[in-house]
């Protein structure tokens, strides 16, 4: 879609969408939201960029070579966080007894591994949405 109005409005609105997505992901343990909706908002911003600026420029924002590392890395990071519980002498995915930093309730850095898990889920959902969209767009253009 090569339209001046769409391109300029997208350029203005995409930073705010991404800021909101990052806010939802980082406040996943404090406010409604979390990894899945926050990642969906982040993915939607890049999908809007692809729709406004074309598939080639959109593909440069998240190439498949980076997306595959993000997706595998998020799941592996989740499993490593779970293994900390086993090494601390508890069951898989133990939070407080495993010795994670708990902090003060209500702070951004608190709640043990919940923010880290939320971050991993957010990255994974965003990367999955973007990769799926880019793959289908490229398939149509061939």
């Amino acid at each position: 879609m090569d339209d001046l109005i769409v391109r300029n409005i997208s350029r203005m609105i995409i930073p705010f969408i991404q800021l909101y997505g990052i806010f939802v992901v980082f406040h996943g343990h404090l406010s409604p939201g979390g990894g899945f909706p926050g990642g969906a908002i982040l993915g939607a911003s890049i999908i809007l960029y692809t729709l406004a600026f074309g598939s080639e420029k959109g593909h440069l924002k998240l190439p498949h070579s980076i997306a595959k590392w993000l997706e595998s890395g998020a799941v592996i990071w989740y499993i490593i966080l779970g293994l900390f519980g086993i090494f601390a002498g508890h069951v898989f995915l133990t939070n407080k007894p495993a010795g994670f930093y708990m902090g003060q309730a209500g702070d951004i850095i608190s709640g043990g591994f919940i923010p880290m898990v939320t971050l991993a889920i957010g990255i994974k959902v965003a990367s999955t949405m973007i990769t799926l969209f880019h793959t289908m767009i490229e398939e149509e253009e061939h």
Binding site: P32, Y78, F92, A105, G111, G112, M136
Partner: protein, 101 residues
């Protein structure tokens, strides 16, 4: 004869389903089996256990973290399957013409 068997089987199934539906507790009742001590424990102890005020996030990321790991695995498997079907193996630049033809 075939139809008779089918109607008997389906009618029996309908009877079983309706009779079990009649045994269900009324919707929204406080004494329902789903409102047991697990929900009370989550609401009362979530802040103490995880220092996080969002009880929903506590349930899905802490008490039910293995379930969320399963959801992440489902996402991973789905994107792997879609990429396998749609992209497949990258053909070499020279061979591309012959494959598409």
């Amino acid at each position: 004869m075939k139809k008779l068997i089918m109607f008997t089987a389906l009618g029996g199934l309908l009877f079983i389903m309706i009779s079990s539906y009649m045994q269900m507790p009324p919707m929204g009742n406080v004494d329902n089996p789903s409102y047991n001590e697990v929900a009370e424990y989550y609401l009362e102890e979530a802040l103490e256990d995880t220092h996080s005020p969002n009880a929903v996030a506590v349930i899905i990321m802490d008490y039910r973290a293995l379930d969320t790991l399963g959801e992440a695995t489902v996402l991973f498997t789905s994107i792997a399957a879609v990429l396998t079907v749609l992209v497949g193996k990258d053909p070499k630049p020279g061979e591309e013409e012959s494959h598409h033809g």
